[in-house]
Amino acid sequence: MMEDGALISCGHRACQGCGALIGLRMILETFGSETILVIPACCASIYSGLFPFSALKIPVVHTPFASAAATASGISRILKRKNLPGLVACWAGDGGTLDIGFQALSGACERNENIIYICYDNEAYMNTGIQRSSATPVGAWTTTTPDRKTENKKDIDAILAAHKIPYIATINPAFPDDLERKVLKAKEIAGTRFLHLFSPCPPGWKYDFRYSIKIARLATMTCIFPLFEVLNGERWTITFDPKENKLPVEKYFHPECKWSQDRFVNLTKSDLEEIQKNMDYSWLDLKTKMWK
């Protein structure tokens, strides 16, 4: 385990309270200095530092939007072939994973390439100024869904589970022990591993930057972002069950206090009832998967 922040310099360009960067810091502590990050077009392309500087003290390969998993595949094959050290990891936003990057990711999964793909999910195209992606939750405001997004969030975890890759896990910076355990586990497994990082975004979700961790915790306590892992696409395990502390979805969408997210301002009471119903069903479904 490296010292906190050892691989990330001060002066990186992430926003105050960026959930993704908090997550990256935690992940790199566990992965260590032999990590090679492949970064497609996304916020990280910028916050990792502008030429001639890099805020990340590891090799970083910048690559076009659609290509993260494919570029990583090429790197990982050479490292293996030439017996060179390195842990190849993609560090991509939700757009570069669920939308434009999906084809390459699916291809890499199908070939079981020896890479770790980390999607830091801030639920929209944030680098270009908050446009909707398929990871944007239903009801959310974005610049391209100024009223609300009408479609449900694409379930990338289930899609990749169908690819039967060795390891999938959802991780949350508000649950650092759970995150650390999963990251360490992913490090030790060969083949394609997918980590889905919940990444609150102050400017995009429109909340006070101080409450990133608070919001992240609420997402899991309401079961909107459940914490689980999937082995080989078949063995699903919930790694954190809020049990009697489970909160109604209202506490996340309309908390009516300092950590409210203005992107959900257009949700009505009946929207919330609908969301609660769907969320309850998903949570039950997840529990059922555990017992299959």
Binding site: I36, S45, F51, H62, A66, G74
Partner: protein, 387 residues
Amino acid sequence: MSDKKILTGNEAIALGVKLCRPDVVAVYPITPQTQITEEISNLDADVIHVESEHSAMAACYGAALAGGRSFTATSSHGLLYMYEMLYWAAGSRIPIVLVNVMRALGSPWNIWPDHNDAMLLRDLPAIQLFAGNCQEAHDFIPIAYALAEETSFLTVVNIEGFALSHSGEPVEPLDQEKVDLFLPKFQPEYKIDVENPRSFGASSDIPDFFFELRKKAYGELKSSAVNFGRIANGFYEKFGRRYDSLENYLTDDAEVVLVTMGTAFETAKIVVDESRKEGKKLGLVKIRLLRPFPNTHDIMAAFHNRPKRIIVVESNNTAVVANELRSLLYRNAAWTFFGESLPQIISFIAGIGGKEIGPEDIGKMISVTKKEIICDNYWQNHYRGNE
């Protein structure tokens, strides 16, 4: 000297690739390149069965950055799909060899050859070779690797679909031991190294950095013609075949010179030989190295007899090669050389979408342009004025 084998262009290329011992080959099929894909799936290399051409070039980019020798091949729509990554890879200044088996661009669908797909590459900071027969297709692979790895440029070898890719010709396969001597191991100066971490391809706050990179790249692209000359000499010494950037045939006393790329050379040669029998002083040039475009020195050597007329027989829709030649002759040393006797440069757009160019087509073009005719671009079968 080993025995010759009958090999199709695709087979000749696949064998050339094998001899260069790539570390990684990214494979995705498309007509008429598919046989290359099939042959290279059997190599002692890491074969990545990518899910698209865009990913094929991305995998090559990653592999090359990690210090591996990589290869991929495509055609037409595959090249288009790959286009974004081609710019990225080319701008990264890492060596990758790409074979483009030239095929028409839709819509509508057309699997037959023309050069339009290759023309898309002309503004890239990348080296482009055009093979005119299966031996060249074979030989150009190690030459391309030597060139790419010496100059750090993406290097493309273009061959015509079907006309070359599927046509069997006698090819003398290169000897593996000699290729190993000709083409040393790939030792990049910069690569992904956890002991020496670097960032590759990062954005810059300051436009000047980017500008300097591009200025340097295009300058080096121009001077890579010198690298090509040296490497081609080395190839000649080892293998006995000489490849200049331009092949000049009977240009010394020519009054009209035909300019071709690819297989049209062989057809045009028939016309030139026939015309010579009739006492007409025709000459012929084959362009092998399109990028960097032949410099004024090479052009002056090809046209030193100051021909009155140059007819470019080209298989692209917009007279690209004729226009580049016109542009070149309008500048610096060429302008001085030709002085008041600038030749007419006529473009004969032929062979589009696989339409055959026969000797009679070229013959007609020559006889038509003998009369007073506007110096312009002409499409096959369409002539202005009287025949």
